[in-house]
Each structure stands twice: as structure tokens, then as C-alpha cells.
Subunit: 214 residues, 2 copies
Amino acid sequence: MPAETPDPRVRTWSPVCRAVAQLLGPYAEVVLHDTATDRVLAIWNPMTARAPGDRSLLGELDELDPSAPDVYGPYEKLLPDGRRLSSVSAVLRDDAGRPSAVLCVNLDRGPLDQAAALLTNFAAPTAPRPEPLFERDWTERINDVVGGHVRAQGRPLERFTREDRLAVLRELDAAGVFAVRRAVPVVAVALRISRSTAYALLAELKHPAAPRKN
Amino acid sequence: MPAETPDPRVRTWSPVCRAVAQLLGPYAEVVLHDTATDRVLAIWNPMTARAPGDRSLLGELDELDPSAPDVYGPYEKLLPDGRRLSSVSAVLRDDAGRPSAVLCVNLDRGPLDQAAALLTNFAAPTAPRPEPLFERDWTERINDVVGGHVRAQGRPLERFTREDRLAVLRELDAAGVFAVRRAVPVVAVALRISRSTAYALLAELKHPAAPRKN
DNA sequence: CCGCCTCTGGACTGAGTGTCCGAGTCGGAC
DNA sequence: GTCCGACTCGGACACTCAGTCCAGAGGCGG
């Protein structure tokens, strides 16, 4: 993973590159090439010793030809150590539509005895989910959360500040409560605020840029 | 492959999407989501019936938080027909650095798992689903329940009888799924029936006295 | 071919969601 | 006390969504 690369193209494309590199685990390398200088812009999961700044040596795809396709491959590549790769390349264009970089994904097809390990590796971990979501007695969870804040603040509901209420709503939202039908009015009642205010606060949660609307 | 999409984001990202879709062959689908409207912008190699314009249902990867990572996953997803997917998501940003879209790559692990099992040559009745323990979001619960019935009936979804579907809906209802907003259409799609039919069957669940309404 | 049954897409209505605004409240500054 | 800014409130509104209903399109056994 490149450290500090001020090149805007790297900034633009790196999320995709990282995503692909991550999906394919340790068996694929993702390379961003600078077409103009024919050098490596950035590289993820390098399988070879290449580093940013090295020559790209991708003379074959003539991205000069405007009629040429944007996506090449998959084609086979060979590594000095004998490993076989499946590769695809894509011509990436800037807003003006001119080629600005070339993306190459090199997937190690690997010897068969490695295949099992490779494949089972895909079956791995299943990292934590972005969201837990879904609760059956969401009504109780509301009371639970609200009650917790009342106790934590040592204030009765009527004396809650705007920030207190925001905090409660933030927590309820994180708990996925608002994915449930008719939840907002219920929450409003529980918080002893009007439906309007509830929506106003929720809007502020989502767009902190515009704190004041009302 | 989308036909005429004037959206500039699709133009920008489609080469990468096509490259990835092509690399991973028929077993991966690539989806571009519009974060603002929570809808599908474009899709390559669709494994589900989704099309541009459909709701994305990606539960708020909070693109508000600047400290949030740009790349999520790989995490596990379930399809109604029981296939298991490895997925990664990447937040794509415009030149100003603001999130403009989300890229999801969904890789069908089935063939890979199969190959792995074959290669390792060990029986292992395919690991009887490690987790009824975790609380997953309702979308997956739907797929989970539907997939379970498919396996139990030994019939593909298209050959389900009215009673089969009623049973699925009964179970989903008992699980409280229909308390979630917009859940019915999602269930209908998962069950491969129309929205109308879904409601008709649900009505029958609630009023068995009036079996025929339609 | 003919009922019988079920599913389907479309139309339609009411319910629920989210936004906006004018008006009222509160507390602090003057 | 009066003014003012920050906040909340209820009501109005537009829009999406939830359910219902129906006419028509099959599937299927007689």
C-alpha cells in the first residue's frame, strides 16, 4: 500500500484498487500505471518486486488508438518464478474522457496444490458487518435507551438539552430503530418532543453541515 | 451491461467495473450504487434480478463520517437461493473528495467452496451453517428463511406451491420482518412473486376465513 | 376447448414519511 | 422591560409507501 501519494489519480482510483485487492486476498496484485510516463503509479498486494516509479513495461496495449477497447483480457501472464497469472487491464479516463491511467489486476492462478488453500481462504472470516440492525421489541429498546440517558444525565426528560436528545437519537439510529415502521412518532413521544422536532433533530444527525434549519 | 447511461459517474467508473466483472468471470457481479438516492446506478454480470434504478438497500455506510474507511469487507452475504457471496464495497469519491458512489463486488463462493472441498478431498458435509447465533440484518434474514425452505422442499423457487410460499411468509412474519419498512417488496422479489401476490398471501395468513380474495 | 384456479401488472386510495413555515416560548443581553 | 436569537410546536403540504382491487394472462385437469 502506497504511503503518501499526492497524485490525484491515485486518490481517485485507490478505493477501487483497494477493494479489489482486498476481495482477492493475497493472491492478486493491483497496479495503477501512468500511461504518459509508462511508470507504476501505485501498487497493492505486490507479487513482484515492483514499486511506484518503476517502469510499467506495458507496451502491448496501445491506448493511443481511440477505437481500442477500454478493457483488455483476461489474458495470461507468466512470472519469472513460474507462477501463472490471469490479468485484466482497464483504461481509466479523466473527466474529459482522455486516458489518464491504466489499471491492471493480476490474479495468481497458482499450482493446483495451492488451489485448495486459495479457495478455502475465500471462505474465511467474514469480517464484522457494518450494522447489527433488527430488533423485535424495538419499543422496549427505545425505552431502554431513553431511560439509560436519563439516568446517565441525572436529568428528567423535560430538562434534556438539545445535545442530550441528539445523543439519544444517534444511539437509536445506530441500533437501527428507525428502519422500523412508525418508529419516529413513537420515539418522539418517548422523548417528549414533537414529531417535527424529532425529524429536525434526525435531519441534523444526517447533515451536520446544516445545523440550523428551523 | 447498461445501455445508454448519461450519468457521468458510470462513465468514470465503468472501465474498472467491467474489468473486475470480466476477471472474475461469471461468478461475480459488480454493482455501482448511488449513495444519494440509495439506488443502483449500473450493474455488470447481475446474479440477482436487480437493475439500474432499483433500491440499493445498503444500510447507510455512513459516508458522513470522514474517518470511516473507504473500503468495507470482505463480508458474507446470502442470496435467496442459498448461494453464499463474498462481498467488498468501496466508497468512490469525486474530484472534490466527496463520496459520489459506492462500488460493490459480489463473488459467488459456491463454485470456489466446491472446488476447495473437492481438492481437499475431505467429506465435510459442507459445514452445517455455523451461526444461528448472530443477529444479522433483516435482508439476510429473508434470504436465510427463503433459502432454508428451498433446501427443505428440495424445489427451486419457481416450483414452489402456494402452501410453500404461505409457510415462508408465516415464518418471516413470525420473525417480525414485516415490521420493517419496505420489507414486503423485498420479500416478494426474494420469493419471485409479485407484490400483489405477496399481499394476497399475507392477507390470507391473517384471515384464513376468507381463503379466496383474488 | 372449457372452466377453475392462481399469479400478475396496473390502478387506486389511504396511511405513513419527511419538509417547511408561522407562531409561541424561553433565556440572556441590553 | 424589551429585543433578539435559539429552539420547539402544531399544522400544512408533498411525496412515498402500504394495501386493496381488478381485469387479463397463463397453467392444468376434464
